[in-house]
């Protein structure tokens, strides 16, 4: 008899459905995006390192938790993950599938170099909205989906912390 449990895992902007079925030999059958793999995960004992074996290929992964998320390093790629009770709005998509107002936040601290939209403007997905200078580079913040700019929270020259609101899309 097998017991199947489904977890909803948020990785970056996506929420993925991961179904786990324990096997008699202590391995797990794990299904993600329609593909099932045999998985074992063994902790190394330092609280950071784990050995992940997926379909017979073994690799180290590194994990560290903070209050909101679990950081995982897989093959040099660092992901911020979180377990969520329900899939986010729009299910397995990203924010692009969402509806309702969306507040965009500064992804890093920096100085606002340029604001490329005005309140009331309609923007398409991918449209540049704000130029934020950090680490001596100008970084364009682009629109994650189409919408109208309802409120604009920043002006050029303003210094921002990570997470400060930039603007709200309808």
């Amino acid at each position: 008899m097998s017991l199947e449990i489904t977890y909803h895992i948020q990785v970056a902007d996506d929420t993925l459905e991961v179904t786990i079925t324990p096997e008699a030999d202590d391995s797990l059958l794990v299904t993600i995006n329609g593909t099932t793999r045999r998985i074992t995960l063994i902790p190394a004992g330092d609280g950071l390192t784990y050995f992940l074996t997926a379909d017979g290929i073994r690799r180290p992964v590194y994990a560290a938790a903070d209050a909101q998320s679990l950081e995982l390093l897989v093959a040099g790629d660092l992901f911020s993950t979180a377990r969520v009770a329900e899939p986010g709005p729009g299910g397995q998509g990203s924010v692009s599938a969402g509806s309702g107002p969306l507040t965009l936040k500064a992804p890093m601290p920096g100085v606002v170099k340029d604001v490329l939209v005005a309140q009331g403007d309609h923007v398409e997905q991918g449209a540049p909205l704000v130029v934020l200078e950090a680490m001596k580079m100008n970084n364009q913040i682009r629109s994650p989906r189409a919408g109208s700019v309802v409120t604009l929270a920043v002006t050029p020259g303003q210094r921002l912390n990570r997470g400060d609101a930039l603007l709200t899309l309808s």
Partner: protein, 514 residues
Amino acid sequence: MPADPPVTRPIKKLLVANRGEIALRVLRACREEGIATVAVYSEADRDALHVRYADEAYLIGPAPSSESYLSIPNLLDAARTSGADAVHPGYGFLSENAGFAQACANAGLVFVGPPPAAISLLGDKAMARRAMKQAGIPLVPGTDRVTDPEAALAFGAEAGYPVLVKAAGGGGGRGIRVVATPDELAGALQQASQEALQAFGDAGVYLEKYLLPVRHVEIQIMADSHGTVVGLGERECSIQRRHQKIIEEAPSVAVSPELRGRMIAAAVAAARAADYRGAGTVEFLLDRDSRFYFLEVNTRLQVEHPVTELLTGRDLVRDQLRVAAGQPLGYTQDDVSPRGWALECRITAEDPHNSFLPSLGRVRLAQLPSGPGVRVDSSLYDGLEVSPYYDSLLAKVIVWGEDRAQAIARMRRALDEFVLLGVKTNIPFHRYLLDHQDFQAGAISTSFLEGVMEDFGKAATANRDLAAITAAVLAHSGLSPASAAPGQASADGPAARSAWATAYRMRNSGYWKV
């Protein structure tokens, strides 16, 4: 030839006017040479490796570099207080600032770099072009300083589009704009001029024809005050993102021994034309027909200098120190004997899956690669706070191999060993590039990255799925990963927390555990 007879001035104590991996690099050379060392640091860098490494360290101001690493009065104060007799500027910051070199000289300090006049001449890119033209060195078709849009339009019509608008006082790839059509030109001039004023304090801009496809190939030079100028071979730095180099290698697959000889001769002529001393880099563009064009001279040690060091076996900082002290270089062109292949990857705190936006945060775990043929120049340690104030370079991984294929395999292996928790890096992008068949075949140009960015985005989901699987299995098994800070409230229970606290203390008990 210098007018004054060379004077020997031994360096006893040296201040490094820089931070990060390059500060550490210079301090290491001083340690080997028996020179006492002085570090300087901003408030954001109190715990930095270069501060721990030096014999003495002085706070020179708050985090913004304009008030610390770019403050000439604060740096000279630190030099005076410490009794240093020499200053090494590293790269970036004040390294190509003739005013700083002159201020050091006025304060009786040896400046480890070229004379102020050479920095001024070569630092003004338009003036440098004129000097190089006179010396018979081939130039990319271009203009002197341009303010009049009509003159710019005339050049565009003659040379053909696209053209580049570049800051006359610029360098390091900043302040460059590509203009594809005549109607964009006036706007680009204005924007570039404004950017140049902000970035370099000089609104001057000039135009160049944009050659495509083209390779970026540069010659490392070293000159002493006794008339010796040596070219230490080339580095190819064609792999660039937004004009910032990402991967550098030496030699270049596109440079034959005969071409190398001609490029070195041109670089040496450029150095002589500017009465150059110390380490410098003459940058060229190399087109498909093996024609090369002078781009600019960087009057400092380059980020990618270790590539040349691994290939030639020379220590360029040691050479810089000898030359600055007035000693002869001690070798000639005939003594330069490159061997094998060297490759460098710049590891930056940027999120490759999110438009390469800077990634900031605290480093939780840093395990650096090592083993045969691998060198890592880095400022990383467990607990480092990656801040928004400085550039995003965290580490340079440099490898040596008998040939290009072995060097690439070694780099791939070294990047597999590189573990960094806490900030996102461009390592996944490097791995993708190293595996790319065009890169492996050496079929690269400065526009190489434009063609591969989209494919990289598509290839990124495999690791994401493994991360989701790991997160789910951790939740399923009740395994407790270490939490961020000792003492922080955590659902993992006291056992997991104390294990983390112990590991954290162990890793921080000695600073070489990086």
